[in-house]
């Protein structure tokens, strides 16, 4: 083996050094690793996985079974697909290979979405012809080819077209395609998967990382060519045995002489082509063996019956019956397998062509046109003609393109021969999996008849090459063994991917923090600054607890609970779903959705409600408030917000469309702070004095620190509590103000403890989709007066009215110091009765409390809780552990007596009347122990006349400097009108809502007096959702793309009546943005979204990496509601200016996503 002095498509003037298994070698530009290895005389490229036999390079393409290498972080690549570059370091695979988790991979993989009318897979003669025929008639065409240059099979042949080298025809076709603006050619791009509805996925190999393309094509031309196959005979795996077309490619394309003396096994005519070209490259042709009776002159009639290995384990001689022919190369032409992988993936039918002796495409299942060798047309001129036909199929017109004349001779059918059924242990059908003819015979001997069973039994075709060279051999051998035609045996299912795709490529930029959007609230920056520990609730990042320095989680939660029970604490409750519901039938609609009544709710009143699915099971809960005669605000659980909105739309649109009711999500518009504790009134007096006297379960509009807000008196803790709402931009200011007033921040863990003490279940934690309201002990919330509501009929089904259903109960451990894990099983007398759903240490009770779902139990029953190897005796009690008579929700004193039915007096630690409970309760102690460390803050005491933080231990107000993020002061924000297209006037030509060129600052430095409370003047600021990105956006923006936030754009959603302006988002849904006078019934959503603007000629390139819709400038001219990255967005276009309306909670995610895109 050696490099030829001339010829081929390599650049001998440049030398590329590389290392293989530590050896320093060299090649040239244009080489693959495989061709450079062959040129360097490397015959053994690796060893087989199972048997460890030496193996050589067998093919010249992605079908390679033998030459697998590790390159950098890529654990397994075919050397035939690795382009050589200077400094390449490759290692042959040992055994099963090695995944090195420590390997440094600094490539940046990405993805992209493109749409086209015709996608052509394969840049050989058929593919180029198809692209010309489609592209020259003006269609949008994408042509992909896996090689660095176009030409396909012609790159490795010496065919003449019209008397000139075929690459001249390729070059002419390429330049004609390059002149077509709607044709995009992607080389080094392998189509790996063909899915439903013209959806094709391809991997483009780029120096700095791969790109996973997602194509959506109106029609797909598959010009994928064909793979040559081998034959089984003893020793057919020795290094030096190579497919004939590959040997020819190495000689013609890479200028490599793959052997000095060759035997060509010509079961198909490609063997003669190889013999001719190898001879021209200086290879001595020792013999051409043709098993067909009509072999050409000069060929030896007969069969190859074996090989002989030399001392180095590589091919030394070929056995032809009783003749021995010395040779270091055996070029095998066993026939061709059309590359039908993608056709089969598209669900097209295959059939076995007895003449071609191959499976070929039959009836397509999608708009798919196989062309050229992919459907068994192997000649170059035939392929070109067929490509023209396939390309023209997309527009139905005759292409009128000229087919050149080829110098090829017509190919005769391959030998009707699948090789010797030789039990020799070295007669392989699958080289990568080391599967032999004998293995297949063992499978049929065990009774297997199906090719799928044989595949799984033998593992044939399950390697990284997915049997590209072996699959047909298995079928052929199987058909011989079973005496059935190959068409009857059939093929195994072709599944994506066509070639291996790394997980890193599939992930692209969606890794690390971008792997899933983190939704954040308006107060997120404050939580981060305060050192909150977060937990994921759906996609939301919620503060779990707020540890002070040195505090454990348990200590922090205990302190937060104490603050809420004894003083005042605050939680960011912005993540609760909020749905604005309007319309004359809103009340009637809610009556049908909730188990209880809403049409009779007084205006200004709130009501807790449960909703069920039709099977009667609890689906969600929350509080809904009647804001006006025909106006409600529903809250949902954090995790279910989107599902509940969808649920409402479903019932309205599909069952009761005649009801006048409209839904608008305002989850992100309102920032919500829950203020809870006996001293909550003091905080409210300072931030929203109008709301101080609010009764329990009432709501009022109120000026909150100078901005219009809403205050609800709702309690999820059992304490006196308020939920204060302000638009997003003021959420952080409100939060800082509430904490400055002495409220202790608490997180979701404390919220859970407080609610569990009150026996409030959490939907999704204490329920699991098999729990009815009655099971929760909440029959009181199920209206008996209503004729119907969703789920009602199911509550009287035999199964739901069983008396032995699991019900929500409380549990206490017999040993007060014991703690039962959530998920523990409850057992009595060896019978499993249920499981623990919630478990927390309770401060006021001085012990752990648990909620459980259990059947056939009642208070006082003794059970065993089993978790792992731990068994803990427990007793069933009422699920309401604390303040069962609700003394505290109006700020009353701590109950003197424990709930009698639940907890024996001797076991509870009564809290002090001053509302201070020790953090030092000794388990088992009787009687109340009031900590001497606590500083009681008397609820009866006068409101301090100045800022005296109502401070339980460790209050942090003096340490916290309210963080003032960039761009927070609204008076500084004057959005610049981009390129004059945006104005406060909606011009008739502008698509969708215009954005104001002027934003009125929202009360900069508004001051508030607490009206008697004596709290100090508070600064108010407005902060837009992407304010934190201002500098970073400016820094990443270059000449081609600029990115910035357009903050504080007033926005309204309009349902029902056409507003005459804005962007139409749905059949009866508009978004109006900008300084306009809102119409009646418009819902203010100015805080629900923010606007991020992308401008410049490179903007589209960024967007196609994350937006799956067709953004072709000729197609996308207005706006669309869709997805960017993983965030729902409204995308609006003016020329090369794109405006992204993104939900405020996704702004952090989208900002990071855009910066990541722009940095790449």
């Amino acid at each position: 083996m050696s490099r030829l002095p001339s010829g081929g498509l390599i650049d001998r003037s440049v030398t590329l050094p590389f290392r293989f298994d530590g050896r320093q070698l060299h090649g040239h530009p244009g080489d693959t690793l495989a061709s450079a290895l062959l040129a360097s005389g490397v015959r053994v490229a690796g060893h087989s996985v199972n048997l460890g036999r030496p193996r050589g390079i067998f093919t010249a393409g992605p079908e390679e079974p033998n030459a697998l290498v590790r390159v950098g972080a890529d654990p397994m690549l075919a050397a035939t697909t690795v382009e050589l570059h200077a400094g390449l370091e490759a290692w042959s695979l040992r055994g099963k290979g090695r995944l090195d988790p420590g390997a440094v991979d600094d490539r940046r993989h990405d993805k992209g979405y493109l749409h086209c009318e015709v996608l052509v897979v394969g840049g050989g003669p058929a593919g180029l012809a198809a692209a010309l025929a489609a592209g020259e008639s003006g269609l949008r065409v994408i042509l992909v080819d896996d090689q660095p240059r176009l030409g396909g099979d012609l790159l490795g042949s010496r065919v003449l077209l019209d008397g000139a080298p075929a690459l001249g025809w390729v070059a002419a076709a390429e330049s004609r395609l390059a002149a077509l603006p709607e044709v995009r050619v992607l080389t080094r791009t392998t189509a790996t998967g063909f899915y439903d509805h013209g959806y094709v996925v391809a991997v483009e190999r780029r120096p700095l990382g791969e790109r996973l393309w997602h194509f959506r094509a109106g029609r797909v031309v598959l010009a994928t060519g064909a793979h040559e196959r081998s034959l089984p005979f003893p020793g057919n795996d020795l290094p030096g045995v190579m497919l004939a077309a590959a040997a020819r490619t190495y000689a013609n394309r890479y200028g490599v002489r793959p052997g000095a003396r060759a035997v060509v096994y010509a079961c198909a005519d490609s063997g003669y082509e190889a013999a001719r070209d190898l001879a021209a490259a200086g290879v001595e042709i020792a013999a051409v063996v043709d098993p067909r009776p009509e072999g050409l002159s000069g060929a030896l009639a007969g069969r190859v019956t074996g090989t002989v290995a030399g001392d180095d384990g590589t091919l030394a001689a070929v056995l032809i019956a009783d003749r021995r022919v010395e040779a270091d190369l055996l070029a095998v032409a066993g026939g061709w397998n059309p590359a039908v992988h993608l056709f089969s993936q598209s669900q097209g039918r295959l059939w076995f062509d007895e003449t071609l002796r191959a499976f070929v495409p039959g009836e397509p299942a999608q708009a798919v046109s196989p062309a050229g060798a992919c459907r068994g047309l192997y000649g170059t001129a035939q392929a070109i003609e067929d490509g023209y036909r396939a390309g023209a199929e997309a527009h139905g017109r005759v292409a009128g393109l000229r087919v050149p004349v080829s110098d090829e001779e017509a190919l005769r059918p391959p030998a009707a021969y699948w090789g010797e059924l030789d039990p020799d242990p070295t007669a392989f059908v699958d080289l990568q999996r080391d599967v032999t003819v004998a293995d297949v015979a063992r499978a049929t001997g065990a009774g297997m008849r199906s090719v799928e069973h044989v595949k799984r039994f033998t593992t044939a075709s399950t390697g990284a090459d997915q049997g590209k060279t072996s699959g047909a051999l298995v079928v052929g051998v199987l058909s011989e063994l079973l005496g059935a035609a190959p068409g009857q045996v059939g093929v195994t299912t072709f599944r994506p991917p066509y070639t291996p795709v790394s997980f890193a490529t599939l992930a692209g930029r969606d890794r690390g923090p971008l792997s899933d959007p983190a939704r954040t609230t308006a107060m997120h920056g404050a939580h981060v600054a305060r050192g909150a520990v977060f937990e994921d609730v759906g996609q939301w990042k919620r503060p779990w607890y707020f540890p002070l320095s040195g505090e454990t989680m348990r200590e922090a939660v205990r302190r937060e609970c104490e603050a809420a029970r004894t003083a005042v604490a605050a939680m960011d409750a912005s993540t609760l779903g909020k749905i604005d519901i309007r319309g004359a039938d809103a009340g009637a609609f809610l009556d049908r959705i909730y188990t209880n009544m809403y049409s009779t709710l007084a205006i200004g009143a709130c009501r807790y409600g449960l909703m069920c699915t039709a099977d009667g099971m609890v689906f969600d809960d929350g509080t809904t408030t009647r804001l006006g005669e025909h106006h409600y605000l529903m809250t949902t659980t954090t995790g279910n917000a989107a599902a509940v909105l969808d649920w409402l739309e479903e019932w309205h649109q599909t069952e009761w469309p005649s009801l006048d009711v409209r839904f608008t999500s305002v989850t992100d518009h309102w920032a919500t702070v829950a203020v809870a504790g006996p001293l909550a009134g003091r905080v409210i007096a300072a931030v929203a004095p109008e709301a101080v006297g609010l009764a329990f379960m009432r709501y009022t509009d109120a000026t909150v620190l100078g901005v219009p807000g809403r205050v609800f008196r709702i309690s999820f803790s059992g304490e006196l509590a308020y939920e204060v709402n302000v638009p997003w931009h003021h959420g952080r200011a409100l939060w800082e103000a509430v904490l400055d007033l002495g409220a202790v921040p608490y997180g979701t863990e404390t919220m859970h403890v407080l609610r569990a003490e009150k026996g409030f279940p959490i939907v999704g934690q204490d329920t699991d989709g098999t729990v009815t309201p009655q099971d929760l002990g909440m029959s009181w919330i199920v209206s008996g007066r209503k004729p119907d509501f969703v789920g009602k009929r199911s509550h009287t089904r035999p199964d739901t009215s069983r008396t032995d259903r699991k019900r929500l109960v409380g549990l206490l451990t017999e040993d007060p110091s014991a703690f039962v894990e959530e998920g523990a099983q409850l057992v009595a007398d060896g019978v499993m009765l249920g499981h623990v759903t919630s478990s927390y240490p309770s401060v006021p009770l001085g012990r752990a409390i648990s909620l459980a779902l259990a059947r056939n139990v009642s208070p006082g029953d003794r059970l065993t809780a089993i978790s792992g190897d731990t068994t803990i005796p427990v007793r069933v009690v009422s699920p309401v552990f604390y303040d069962p008579d609700n003394h505290r929700r109006d700020g009353g004193p701590t109950p003197q007596n424990p709930p009698p039915q639940a907890i024996p007096p001797s076991e509870i630690t009564p809290a002090s009347p001053q509302g201070v409970v020790s953090s030092e309760v000794t388990p088992g102690s009787s009687g109340g122990v009031v900590s001497s460390e606590a500083t009681p803050s008397s609820p009866q005491g006068a409101v301090p006349s100045e800022v005296t933080p109502v401070s339980p231990q460790g209050r942090v107000s003096s340490e916290v400097t309210p963080v003032s993020p960039q761009g927070r002061v609204s008076s500084e924000v004057t959005p610049v009108s981009p390129q004059g297209v945006v104005s406060s006037e909606v011009t008739s030509g502008s698509p969708g809502g215009a954005v104001s060129s002027e934003v009125t600052p929202t009360r900069p430095e508004g001051t508030v007096s607490s009206g008697g409370g004596g709290f100090p003047v508070l600064r108010m600021w407005a902060e837009s959702p992407a304010a934190g990105f201002k500098e970073r956006f400016a820094a990443v923006g270059g000449g081609r793309v600029r990115v910035r936030e357009v903050p504080f754009v007033p926005m309204w959603e309009v349902r029902g009546e056409e507003p005459g302006k804005g962007m139409r988002l749905g059949p009866e849904w508009w978004l109006v943005a900008g300084e306009v006078e809102p119409g009646p019934g418009w819902v203010d959503v100015s805080g629900q979204r923010t606007v991020i603007e992308l401008t410049g000629p490179g903007a589209l390139d960024v967007l196609i990496t994350g937006c799956p819709i067709d953004l072709h400038p000729g197609v996308f001219t207005g706006h669309a509601q869709t997805v960017l990255g993983k965030a729902p967005v409204i995308l609006q276009r003016y020329g090369d200016l794109y405006r992204i309306f993104v939900r405020s909670s996704y702004a952090n995610y989208l900002g990071e996503w855009l910066i990541d895109a722009l940095e790449g």
Binding site: H197, A642, E650, T654, D788, R793, G1066, I1109, Q1121, T1122
Partner: protein, 82 residues
């Protein structure tokens, strides 16, 4: 990834939608008057044909419209519901 033709937005990727199951299963007029078996039929029983199937989709990440199409359960071909 199927391509579903939203009547308002046009063709969009499947992952912008929620599946809504078999179409044409109307909520009973008076559930209280149904037998347990009749109610169970409404709540739990759906067709599962090999071939064309009328089914509902919801364009949740787009125009928020519920609509009905016919989909072939073998080929995934989608066509307008008659």
């Amino acid at each position: 990834m199927m391509l579903i033709d939203c009547p308002f937005c046009g063709p969009r990727d499947e992952n912008e939608f929620h599946y809504g199951g078999q179409a044409g299963i109307a909520y009973p007029e008076a559930p209280g008057e149904l037998s347990d078996a009749e109610w169970a039929e409404y709540v739990f029983m759906r067709d599962n044909p090999r071939g064309w199937f009328r089914e509902r989709w919801f364009h949740g990440l787009g125009c928020r419209t519920w609509f009905t199409v016919e989909r072939h359960t073998v080929t995934h071909e989608i066509r307008k519901a008659p």
